[in-house]
Symmetry: C2
Subunit: 144 residues, 2 copies
DNA sequence: CGTATTTAGCCTTTTTCGAGAGCAATTTTC
DNA sequence: GAAAATTGCTCTCGAAAAAGGCTAAATACG
């Protein structure tokens, strides 16, 4: 399962993407409207800022805002930022590869093969799920 | 990522499946050959026994053995046993459904749609990955 | 300049995971 | 029936996740 951090991050990002280029949004607004504990949200937004996805402004009229285009932020990146690898096993991860300590022969490991396939399918779906794509899906759903 | 418990469980099950119907196997043998901490493995095997997948015999000549056919034990079931839901969000799980507390409208949630698709693909792959299927894959790999 | 607003950083608490120690219970064998 | 072999059970410990509290720093506005 996703960590709360990652889940909240995605919700906050979608929220900000809906108001892209409309100026800074208050943490407290996001917290209230998305039902995210405020203190927790603060550290999440800070992480997203340090990752170069958001920027912030202090003082009156301040808040957080998206600096990447909603088309360019996808769920795979956000999940990796907060929860690390997406794959189920370290030996099939893309950016965090590590041998399974207990593994005897990676080359002939049938378990690895299965999870390699799972990872590929998963990452493919997540990569094409940008903030823009998610917002589009929501519009389609509410137009029905 | 999989918990160590689930990963070790899968390795132990594949080990036992390779010796299906050849009598009880010692915990210590599995522990050594699969590089799994023995005490940890003990509790894992016990869980698998309580789940009706393994059975055990005490005393000399004792150990653990598979009571389900290797074709009938798949990775989705084992993962759910140890790590709970396979899906990334509680609102798209099959057997453990729960509303996301912070969610505003599940019916129009674009995030949910994405993770619903991921779950479906993932579970499909894991369901068809039985112990027998994994062993077959390993044989194909080592015959190359 | 000073005050209100808002983000930034640090410290504490509670729960769960990974691992191991030690002892108890059960079965076989002699 | 005693001893050896093996599984079964209960604690404990450290690290990480999920919060929440409190104070500092920066900025805007009158």
């Amino acid at each position: 399962m996703l960590s709360k951090k990652a889940k909240y991050a995605i919700n906050a990002l979608v929220h900000l993407a809906k108001q892209y280029e409309k100026g800074p949004i208050l943490i407290s607004d996001i917290s209230e409207q998305e039902n995210i504990p405020q203190k927790f949200l603060e550290s999440i937004l800070l992480d997203l800022k340090n990752a170069g996805i958001l920027s912030s402004k202090k003082g009156r009229g301040g808040g957080y805002y998206l600096i990447k285009a909603p088309e360019e932020v996808n769920l795979a990146d956000v999940m990796r930022l907060f929860d690390g690898p997406i794959a189920f096993l370290p030996c099939v991860t893309y950016k965090y590869y590590e041998r399974c300590e207990e593994c005897i022969d990676e080359a002939t490991c049938g378990i690895r093969q299965v999870f390699y396939e799972v990872r590929n399918e998963t990452v493919e779906i997540l990569k094409r799920s940008s903030l823009a794509a998610i917002i589009k899906k929501e519009q389609l759903l509410s137009d029905q």
